[in-house]
């Protein structure tokens, strides 16, 4: 294994993402675009667009700060206020950020992350942290909040009841939006965006599946960078981007262009990602001719269930709220862990010519951490693949030590028999 710096040939159009996302965040300051809602969790963003309400996702904002490694200050503020270090680090960043704003310390916040104060807060608890986090924000800014409770579907026979449970709350949310905007909800626009999401899902899924090619035309890191518009922006420009993304990946696959000059090890990732170490991990792996091919995280949003009919509901344009409710009910966290999440996980291992698996067990995220030990054992026993369980964190810098992680990755790669 050589130590020289290896070139990582990224999917070119992902370079547009930062501009796209910057513009999206700039829009938050545009008062003509309606009131501003801070959204906690994977929220029904289509509904905000249809109500002419500006919104962004607090986790996405926290991840943005972390990719430039500027999260520590916010975490310190939250912890100094009394929020435990063991709380989800996204929440610590965002709550620290909110506290600074509420105290009038905006000037200490780097300009590119600044945001206006919210007019309202929204949360959908695909993860239980989100409700508490939403409460805290609403308490800090003294603004109204709306919370949607997504049930835990422990039995597939309860599917309809649970989708209706969420859908009925979404109806109430329409009323909440109308009350706070003073405008009627635009149902036609909602339909348009749900249809848009269907098209995005098709492009996205197709691009992802192309990573079965050897060498892979795109890496999981490309996908991570590219998933922002799909997960939070959701507009026509997003669709245009995913068309470009798919086309470029397809062309690369056709031309046999890979991410690395020499693709020796194909690695699969499971779990959320240490955003602050995106570059570090990419370089670390490339050094040993290893590439992250695919990953089970953030990729299935509006996708797998609709296309594969893995779930009982596909896209139903005649009932957009039910489609949105179903989309949220099929999150890995709201379903039994041995169902959808494992299904995708196993399918990737089986179909993407994987040599080894890295499972991320984040220190401050219980939904992604729990069950990882059992999954690791299953990969070893059933698929006879080497596994590394990486116990770091999605954004808290305190748990990631470069040298230690590199030693473990190197050891993992050495066990791969080639």
């Amino acid at each position: 294994m050589s130590n020289e710096k290896k070139i990582v040939n990224r999917v070119k159009c992902t370079a547009n993402i930062s501009g796209l996302m910057d513009n999206f965040y700039k829009d938050m300051f545009d008062d003509n675009k309606g009131p501003l809602c801070w959204c906690v969790g994977a929220c029904p963003y289509e509904m905000f667009s249809a109500a002419n309400v500006r919104r962004f996702q607090t986790e996405n904002h926290a991840a943005r700060i972390s990719t430039r490694q500027e999260q520590a200050m916010f975490i310190e503020v939250a912890e100094a206020e009394g929020l435990s270090e063991n709380v989800c680090s996204y929440a610590k960043i965002n709550i620290g950020f909110a506290l600074m704003m509420a105290r009038g310390e905006e000037d200490k916040i780097p300009e590119r992350y600044r945001l206006p104060k919210p007019d309202m807060i929204f949360a959908l608890n695909t993860c239980p942290t989100m409700i508490q986090w939403c409460d805290m924000l609403s308490d800090i800014f003294k603004v109204p909040k709306f919370v949607v409770d997504a049930a835990y579907i422990y039995d597939e026979n309860n599917w309809d009841r649970n989708v209706e449970y969420v859908k009925s709350q979404l109806y109430d949310f329409v009323r909440f939006l109308e009350k706070h905007t003073g405008q009627p909800f635009d149902w036609a626009r909602l339909n348009e965006i749900v249809y848009l999401m269907k098209q995005i899902a098709v492009e996205w899924r197709a691009a992802r599946e192309l990573c079965k090619n050897v060498p892979t035309p795109a890496s999981f890191l490309d996908a991570l960078i590219a998933m922002g518009p799909k997960n939070t922006v959701r507009d026509e420009a997003s669709l245009a981007f995913y068309k470009d993304f798919h086309n470029e990946v397809a062309q690369r696959a056709k031309d046999g262009i890979g991410v690395l000059e020499q693709e020796k090890y194909r690695i699969m990732w499971r779990g959320n990602f240490p955003w602050h170490k995106l570059g570090t991990l990419s370089r670390m792996l490339a050094k040993y001719d290893a590439v992250l091919i695919s990953g089970v995280y953030g990729l299935g949003t509006y996708g797998d269930h609709a296309i594969d009919n893995i779930l009982p509901d596909g896209f139903d344009l005649s009932d957009p709220l039910r489609t949105i409710a179903a989309e949220h009910c099929c999150r890995s966290y709201t379903r039994r862990f041995d169902w959808k999440m494992d299904h995708e996980f196993r399918r990737h291992i089986e179909e993407f010519s994987i040599d080894a698996v890295i499972i991320h067990s984040p220190r401050t995220c219980r939904p992604w951490a729990l069950t990882t030990y059992d999954m690791a054992r299953e990969v070893e026993e059933k698929y006879k693949l080497p596994v590394l369980v990486l116990e770091v964190d999605h954004t808290d810098p305190n748990y990631f030590h470069d040298a230690q992680v590199e030693t473990r990755i190197k050891a993992l790669l050495e066990t791969i028999k080639k």
Partner: protein
């Protein structure tokens, strides 16, 4: 009085023994309740014995391979007990999905603890005051009734349910009397003894517990306590598990006296009575959505922990509030901070202790609690 207190202590010391013995004696089935809100009355009405599955003091060995060390000690201990076969005698475990840790761990137990007879998750709405939540709660409780009927191989009538509600309400009122006596005569009973009494009630038939409580309360009513200059405090929290007794002991050793509590193994367990004037199912569902103590894992914006604890402190004339958080219990961390921000204007001293299954140094706890009590004394 001492004799009765010893008996409660013995039952509390070996959590599952009483239920095991009951099962051998009666030949009936035992139901284990995991998580915060399993409606015990339903199983009681079917002639089953519902008991709360609590943590065990022994070191965690087997669970380490399945549950991370950065998960709450309660769940690690329960998983360990399940893997060790300690829970195999239980005929069905109902696991209330009170947080994500318990949600995922229930599946881990199901997958790995092969001796477990049956483990059934249930979901109750988190946002308890919504219209949708009402229907959902009714459906989930009806499901529990069916489950109980299957387990007991008999049907449950409305009368059965009502009788169980009455037994449980009687039990709640007796425990409330105990707490009233503690408020009226601070120091009449130690915090550890109260904890033992409530813990025992989670582990044995309520009728038997009631029969032990009645003479105890009588004895306490006739007892006087000498005036003392202890600092009255209330203790809150310790979700899903018993508040570490050494914390309570130290607190009372260093000059404090617990005059009321909002502990899980404490007043949270019996605070909400069920309305006997309604149909049983409606009443049980209502008791859930209208639960009296604000819960860190539920969402009920109008029921604030800060207001609740301030009222509790005022009623008990307490001079300080101590929160006990089970390390890694995420919901509680948030709720604690909101509480802390909420009581700022009241100027009441508060203090936080985090407990761990592996234990925190008693010497450290002692120093800190001592200075907290001294600072109140001024």
């Amino acid at each position: 009085m001492e004799q009765l207190l010893n008996k409660f202590q013995q039952i509390a010391a070996e959590p599952l023994k009483t239920a095991q013995y009951w099962k051998e004696k009666t030949g009936k089935k035992v139901v284990g309740c995991m998580g915060l809100y399993v409606t015990e009355e339903i199983f009681h009405a079917a002639g089953l014995l519902p008991v709360v599955i609590l943590e065990k003091d022994s070191p965690i060995l087997r669970a380490q391979a399945h549950v991370q060390s950065y998960m709450c000690g309660y769940i690690r201990s329960v998983t360990d007990q399940a893997l060790a076969g300690d829970l195999d005698f239980i005929d069905c475990i109902i696991s209330h999905d009170c947080c994500h840790t318990i949600r995922m761990t229930t599946e881990i137990i199901k997958r790995n603890a092969t001796g477990i007879k049956d483990i059934q998750p249930i979901f109750l709405p988190v946002t308890i005051k919504k219209a949708e939540s009402w229907t959902y709660t009714l459906q989930e409780l009806s499901f529990l009734i069916e489950k109980a009927e299957k387990l007991a191989a008999r049907s449950i009538t409305e009368d059965d349910l009502m009788q169980s509600i009455q037994t449980y309400n009687k039990h709640r009122r007796l425990l409330k009397r105990l707490y009233q006596l503690r408020r009226d005569k601070p120091g009449i009973i130690s915090a550890r003894q109260v904890s033992n009494i409530v813990k025992a009630s989670m582990l044995m038939p309520k009728e038997e517990h009631n029969a032990m409580l009645e003479p105890l309360l009588e004895a306490m009513e006739n007892k006087t306590v000498e005036a003392n200059n202890k600092i009255p405090v209330i203790v809150s929290g310790s979700l899903c598990e018993t508040c570490d007794e050494y914390v309570l002991d130290i607190l009372e050793e260093v000059g404090g006296v617990v005059v009321d509590d909002d502990l899980y193994v404490g007043s949270r367990y019996f605070a909400t009575e069920v309305d006997e004037s309604l149909s049983p199912l409606t009443a049980l569902a209502l008791a859930y959505v209208n639960m009296v103590p604000p819960c860190p894992t539920r969402h009920d914006p109008d029921n604030k922990l800060s207001d609740y604890l301030i009222n509790m402190a005022e009623r008990a004339r307490a001079k300080g509030i101590i929160s006990v958080i089970v390390k890694f219990c995420e919901a509680h961390y948030y709720s604690y901070l909101t509480f802390r921000r909420g009581i700022k204007e009241f100027n009441i001293p508060e203090y936080l202790i985090e407990t761990e299954h592996e234990g925190v140094s008693p010497a450290q706890v002692k120093t800190r609690l001592q200075s907290f009590i001294e600072s109140i004394r001024g």
